[in-house]
Amino acid sequence: MQNTLSAVISIGFHGIAFAMVLYLISVGLSVTMGLMGFVNLAHGVFAMLGGYILTSLMSRLGVPFVMALAIAAGATALASVVVERLLYRRLYGGDELDQVLLTMGLIFMSVAGATYFWGPLPQPMQPPRWLSGQMDFGFRSFPGYRSFLILCGAGLVTVLWLGLERTRFGVQIRASVDNLRMAQSVGINTSRLFTATFALGSGLAGLGGALGADLLAINPSYALENLVYFLIVVAVGGLGSIRGPFVAALLVGVGDTGFKYLLPELGAFFIYALTMAILLWRPRGLFGRA
């Protein structure tokens, strides 16, 4: 009994930490999908970039962890604005196939680019000393870095929800997701809104990639390897939603961790089978609008 309970707690804990990383990376993809209808398969590239920036700053230049995190998120957001203005903008409202190809091309370039700059091996991520031990929560102690990940994720989720519900920017996003033309007619500058949202989403992805460098190892084929996870979270959650991907990320994070722990032989199948089943039941995802 004691063992079962401890296994459940352990799965829940690691699963939620994984879910937070998945959510931070995927939420931007969901919003840009809902807002612009743009199939951005290269979203993972921004997460990878964040991860590389963080690990390089920390290991090569000795930048403190929190500062490196901020720089990783900021630099990724900036880089994404350049890509959006130069390339993505041309394909808004265009052919889905063109979007898929453009972003696949970016993924391929990122694989070669990362190999060129950082080499083929995964980048080790050393959590700072103040997070590397165990954290005591009274009834039980948990690994420090993962606990930080969960707290950090929970904080960001709250800020994101409040931002979307309470700020002017959030209202504009919701209006544009619901009805783009009407939003334009009432004077919302949707072009600028797109860029800002895209930068925010990519910055969050960069932050997620950096925070999760310990869970999803930073290596050149990161964007290819993890693409299926990000897409599952977005599609199961429902496009254009902020809450949907959160529930989906929890499902994927906890489910994947649990089944890989309980049935190591068949663990990887479970999450794919579950995804297919959910989409058979609700083709638009859990929180998708009809």
């Binding site: 196939l97 190809l101 370039m109 990122s110 070669a112 299926v228 599609a235 989409l279 083709p283």
Partner: protein
């Protein structure tokens, strides 16, 4: 009335064979005579053309954007491979078995996948391919797992033509199979069924409105395309006597899209131009710097999408206008 008459003529003549259409086959024979030392690569190119052709049926004609076409390619390759490794090396029946198994996988997955659209559909095709990849990885007793399937023994074709080390038999074998499948695909595309697929791609709502069974037609072409992809996978498995996990991965699904786009989508001949271009360039480049091949191909895709929509055939069409 004159204008209408021309339009009717164009429609009536669409399906007729034009002299230009002989070009790929002439080129294939010329390549056989001119580059005898490159025949193994040539056979790979021919088999991959078939793979791209099958993707064109789904993507170019039915407008279903898929990121998991390697699922069927790999299924076919493993079917033929496992047969040949376990004592049944007869190539033609192996090819047919591969086609049937891949088509069945296509039918089963199509029933689920085609219920959705857009990003969700894309993700589900990717999930199907990933599932099969994991399956092949875990069932290493049958598939050899990470090391790949070894010990394939492929018998001579019709008991007469042995697969030689210069790749002559392989080349002719692939060419013959490609020709038959191309003929089939061409018939499908120009049939009323094929025209209605184009209608579905161009305007789904209108096709629903005129009472076309959209879902069923999509499922049929998805199944046929899966079968052809399976045959192309089996061709490569039989001619190289090897099947590995890379037959099922995302790079495989992605690169076939790229090859198709390079040539031109929805034109039936895009595959015949894009695949040789891609594979010959890959062969050259990877001799110099294998890792950075991906960078150039990625850049090329970005350029194709931004500047040269419609690929090589699209450029030709624009120049002729």
């Amino acid at each position: 009335m004159r204008v209408d008459q021309t339009a009717v003529d164009i429609f009536a003549r669409r399906h007729r064979y034009r002299p230009v259409e002989a070009l790929p086959w002439i080129a294939a024979f010329a390549a056989y005579a001119l580059f005898p030392s490159y025949l193994p690569l040539g056979a790979q190119i021919l088999a991959t053309i078939l793979f791209a052709l099958s993707a064109d049926l789904v993507l170019g004609y039915a407008g279903i954007v898929t990121l998991g076409h390697a699922a069927f390619f790999g299924t076919g390759a493993y079917t033929a491979g496992i047969l040949a490794a376990n004592g049944w090396g007869e190539p033609i029946s192996g090819l047919l078995a591969a086609g049937v198994v891949a088509a069945l996988v296509g039918l089963a997955s199509g029933c689920i996948v085609l219920r959705t659209t857009g990003l969700t559909l894309l993700m589900q095709t990717l999930v199907v391919a990933t599932l099969l990849y994991e399956l092949a990885n875990k069932a290493s007793r049958f598939t050899g797992g990470d090391d790949g399937l070894q010990g394939m023994v492929v018998w001579p074709i019709f008991g007469l033509f042995r697969f030689d080390m210069f790749g002559r038999t392989a080349y002719v074998y692939c060419l013959a199979v490609l020709f038959i499948c191309w003929y089939l695909a061409r018939r499908i595309v120009h049939s009323p069924f094929g025209r209605s697929l184009t209608g579905i791609r161009e305007n789904v709502r209108r096709m629903h409105a005129i009472g076309a069974p959209v879902a069923r037609r999509q499922l049929v072409i998805y199944t046929v395309s899966a079968g052809l992809a399976g045959i192309s996978g089996a061709l490569i498995a039989q001619t190289t006597a090897f099947v590995g996990l890379s037959f099922l991965n995302l790079e495989r699904s992605g690169s076939v899209l790229i090859m198709l786009i390079l040539g031109g989508v929805g034109r039936l001949y895009g595959a015949f131009i894009g695949v040789p271009l891609y594979m010959i360039a890959q062969n050259r480049f990877s001799e110099i710097e294998p890792v950075y091949w991906y960078f150039w191909i990625g850049l090329l895709m970005v350029i194709v999408v931004v500047v040269a929509r419609g690929g090589v055939l699209g450029l030709v069409e624009r120049l002729r206008r």
